[in-house]
Symmetry: C2
C-alpha cells in the first residue's frame, strides 16, 4: 500500500509472491509430513535436531522446547513421541544427572530425506530453467526476506514454563 511513488508494483508483487509461496510450502510440507505420520511440530523438532547435530551441538529438552516455543510438558510429550517412533533418543548427561541430551536417529535422517527429497527434486526440475545469475538474485532476495521476518520478533526471556 504505502509507497513513495516510484515502483509500487514490483515490491508489492514480490511480497505477494513471498506470501503465496509460504502458504503453499506450508501446506505441502504439512501434507507430506502427515503422510509419514509426522506432525508439524515433530518435523520442526527433527529439523532442529539435525541442524544442531550436524553443527556438533547437543540439545536438551529445554533447548528444544524453547526453540519450538513449547512448554516443558509439551516438550516431554514431543520427545516421548519421537523416541516412541524411533526418530530420536535420550542420552543422560554424565556430568549433570538432571540433564538429558536429545539426538536424532539414522532412521529420522532417512525419513526426513524421504519427505523432503521429492519436493526438492520437483523444485529443482522446475527451477533449473533459470540462469545462475537469476538464482543468485533470488537467493539474495530470499535471504533478505528471511532476515526481515526472523528479526521481526525477539523471543525474549522465558521462565521455566515458557510460552504464551
Amino acid at each position: 500500500m504505502s509507497h513513495s511513488g516510484q515502483e509500487p508494483s514490483e515490491l508489492f508483487q514480490l511480497i505477494q509472491a513471498l506470501r503465496r509461496y509460504a502458504e503453499v510450502a506450508d501446506r505441502t510440507i504439512d501434507a507430506a509430513g502427515h503422510r509419514s505420520g509426522l506432525h508439524r511440530t515433530d518435523l520442526r523438532a527433527l529439523t532442529i535436531l539435525m541442524q544442531r547435530q550436524a553443527a556438533g551441538l547437543n540439545t536438551s529438552p529445554t533447548d528444544l522446547g524453547r526453540m519450538l516455543s513449547l512448554t516443558s510438558a509439551s516438550t516431554t510429550a514431543l520427545v516421548d513421541r519421537l523416541v516412541a517412533n524411533g526418530h530420536a533418543q535420550r542420552t543422560p548427561s554424565t556430568t549433570d544427572r538432571r540433564r538429558v541430551s536429545i539426538s536424532h536417529t539414522d532412521t529420522a535422517a532417512l525419513d526426513g530425506r524421504k519427505i523432503f527429497m521429492p519436493m526438492a527434486r520437483s523444485m529443482a526440475d522446475r527451477l533449473s530453467e533459470f540462469t545462475p545469475e537469476q538464482m543468485e538474485t533470488a537467493i539474495e532476495v530470499l535471504a533478505a526476506a528471511t532476515e526481515a521476518l526472523d528479526t521481526f520478533e525477539t523471543p525474549g526471556p522465558s521462565p521455566t514454563n515458557a510460552p504464551s
Copy 2:
C-alpha cells in the same frame, strides 16, 4: 544432490534458501496468529474466505473443508469458532435450504491486516533495496517454486467425510 555437472551450487543454495524462508515464514505467521488468538487453520480459512470473497465467489462449509483438508466435523467446528469470535458469518442460501454460505466479517479483514501488515512492512523495508529487475526475477523464481510445489500433489476427489 543429483546434477549434470554445470552449476550445482546455485540451484542447491536456492532450494536451501527457499526451505529456510518457508520455515521462518511459517514460524512467524504462527506466532503472530497466536498472539491474536487465531490458530493456523483459522488464519488459513480467513485467507481463503478473503480471496474468494474478493473474487466474488461464495464459499460453503464443504468448499472450505475441502480446501483445508478437514473433515466435515472439523469444518463445522472451525466455522463455529470463526462465527463465535466474530470473524465470519453463516448465510443460508435462498435457493437450496441445505446450503450455507460462509463470509468473513469486516472485523476479520481488519484483524488480518493487523496480523500481516507488520510483517509486510518489515519485509518491504528490507526488500526495497533491490532493483525492480531483481524483484522481477525473484517474483518469477518464487512463482516457479510455488507452482512446482502446488502441482506436487493432486488433492483428488473426496467423499463426504474427506481427509486422510
